[in-house]
Amino acid sequence: MGGGGRHRKVALVPLALAAAALLGGCGTYPQSDFNAVGPVSQLQRSALVEDMRFLGVIGIIVIGLVIYAAIRFRHRPGEEETPAQVEGNPRLEIAWWVVIALGLIFLVVPPLRDEFVLAQTPKGPDVVHIKVVGHQWWWEFQYPDYQFVTANEMHIPVGAKVDLQVTSADVIHSFWAPNIAGTLDAIPGRVNTEWIQADKPGVYWGQCKEFCGLNHANMRLRVVAESPADFQKWVDSHQHPVGVAQLTGDALAGWQVFDGPGTCKNCHTIDGTDAKGIIGPNLTGIGSRLGVAAMTLVPNDAQNLSTWLHDPQAVKPGNDMVIPKLTEQQIKELIAFLQSQKTYESPQVKAALENPLAQ
């Protein structure tokens, strides 16, 4: 929210802002369609911008003609004679059908190719495969190449093609990280595929776009694009998770709460421990994630974790985390435990942990 006041003043003129947004987007709009950082979103942006230009010109001309006619041919006091009763002009009418048809060619033909580009399936040894599973109301990201699972925060290497297999465990959701790629529906009983690629390191925002029930609004996600070396370190840290052997003090006590009968581990998995629940999101590396409860609360700090653990139903009504009331001591210990479960933090992650809007 740094510089919020200045942003607010500028934003009072929506047209100026739209123009600013058209000029390439700026950091204040983390989900802007115009801040495209990969070939997929760039192709979608250029289709959008070409349409806006072409149709904008047509709109100005036609609306201009309407306004001209509406003013020019208004009835003025004293004009009593009836205007000429012109019923039509076949040549003129044929002309406008033809002109519109010609204009349509420019509008119809260019984007036809785009759909085939978007539908390509990336192949080769460098391709990263990720299976995306939508749940009410969080995202599961499986990395079959590396045999681990994470949630709500997808990491991808910069410059690599990523093959997404998108489906759902319950109702229809829709995967959308606009800076990288447009929407793809997550439909139960069906696997949709798309490829994505980010050419610039950063943390990109996204969220579920298909109405999926009570907390559709809070089914958010991040895509972290980091250098291939950083990505590999992040993968390694999932394959060799922190576990619980080294824990002491509050963190150890927190693990005991997590591990207690009828508690967290029934629903959540943390690799390297005996928590193997599969109802809720996988919490391996939760200490390095960027937000709490599918990015409903950002950043992921002790305060937001505490808000969530005090009353998950107040933060996100209707979600599956229905838990007995925890004591202040238990919450403190659980936070210490969760924060101990870290994975590798690239510079992009470190920056976003400080400031959620950092890219």
């Binding site: 019923e87 984007p111 606009p178 529906d185 209707g318």
Partner: protein, 618 residues
Amino acid sequence: MATAERALRLPEVRTAEERGFLSWLMTVDHKRIGVLYLLTSTIMFAAGGVEALLMRTQLIRPDNAFLGPKAYDQVLTMHGTTMIFLAVIPLAAAFFNYFMPIMIGARDVAFPRLNALSYWLYLAGAVILYSSWFLGGAPDAGWFNYVPLSDAFSGPGENFYILGLLLTGFSSIVSAVNFITTIINMRAPGMSLMRMPVFVWGTFLWSALLLFSAPPFSVALILLLLDRIAGTGFFVPAAGGNALMWQHLFWIMGHPEVYILAVPAWGIISEVIPAFARKPLFGYRGAVIALFAITSLSFTVWSHHMFATGMGPVVNDAFMVTTKLISLPTGALVFTWLLTLWGGRIRYTTAMLYAVGFLPVFIVGGLTGLMLATAPADLQLTDTYFVVGHFHYVAVGGILFSMLAAAYYWLPKMTGKLLDERLGKWSFWVTFVGFNLTFFPMHLSGLLGMPRRIYTYSPLLGVDVYNLLSTVGAYVLGVGLLLTIVNVVRSLASGRKAGADPWDARTLEWATPSPVPAYNFRVIPLVRSRDALWYEKHAADGDGRVRPSEEVAGAIHMPGLTYLPALLSLGLLVAAYGVNFKLAWLAALGGLVAFYSIFRQMFEADRGYLLEPRGESE
């Protein structure tokens, strides 16, 4: 014996039709049914408007806690469902009912009793949907009601959605059959098809659209109802069903639906603009052809609502092409209206302000629609506020403005009293400003990444200013619409007399007294031209009065009143509650009442009555 005796009895002669309260329940007069439609749809429109204001209030700032997600989702669902099915379709039906028969020079529709049935079925559907608020909660899966969310993942309100829309769908089909039959068979002598006002063509094509789009949707609703109450799995992937199939069936109705809403609007605009530009519609034939083209094409474009469902590039491209093709006839219509203004002497009454105000906003809505039709762009824009801005430019700026134009144009004919022009002009400007303030910023918040159907959003998205503007605009828009309601009430109480033809207009309805008598025309008129009344006012051999088609002017045979359509609807309403609550006895009781009224109808001969008008000149 008894039958023969009954056949011999002549209908009784009366000098006036019945006007008591009960007669409104039993009427078969197309005009009074039109009034019932108008009143009910206005109330429904107000309900949908309040729901819109509740949503806008929740979204006035990020992380707001005015409505929780539970209430928000119900209000969201009811707003869309109400506006589409309970407000705008019946509002069009109100004007069609009242004016189409008069404009073709008929005394009534072809099947007056079916017409009454249409209204009562619509009312029953509205009662079911709105009673959900008091019987466990309103439906909450959106007006599009996608499965599986609407199947096993939502509350009891969903059954109200299904049963309510089955009844309104039934109502639409009945209306459609009735209007098509009327237009084909009941035109006055000389009213050839190509002399019909474009508004009548609008009625015809609206009916055709409903006739072909309502049945697949009804089928989808019945399958979903069976999934929900009988444990079938048509839409359940785990049971071998297909979750995506709902979307296809829904949009096979849902996209023609857009034109079901728009065609009446275009019909109205094509009447109001010539009346006040004082010129005939420029290129009548082309406009009729364009309307036919749009109606046909509208059945080939539904999957453009589903570009993100993974149908593949060939299917997406095919639907992208058909969708964009629609802009050809639609663009031609815009030129028709533009060239009708061109060279006119435009008189800016309130009706004309709304009609001319319609043009730029409708053009904007059409152009943003073309952007959404570009599949690669749509993958970013879909399900964002850009879409919400787009279709409200079409639905509010386009369709609602035209309905307001119709109200200011035709209400004097219906009530016999003029509306206040000064207050009317205020209403236009407040409505116009409020409308743009509400919906223009939505395009921007959408482009900047705000999804739709969310009850809250993060302040970090940077879209709070746009949402604040939209919310303020929504209240201004509300005030503008309220001004029109005030205007109507004042006009009813103390409006100046309208006279038969207050606008020096062109079509047959202005050749009847205001308000229009029960029989419409003392003698069925003879139509000698398109714009039949204008022709008689200006032709060399015209005397300003529409000619009668026959000399005889005896008593007029009118259909009798009947309670059967209302009773049939009541039976179906009761049966629907029975199904909803799984009470077999209640469903059976409702079914019995419905069957009784159908059988009674089959064996009852309506002798009607003879109306002997007292001292009327026309």
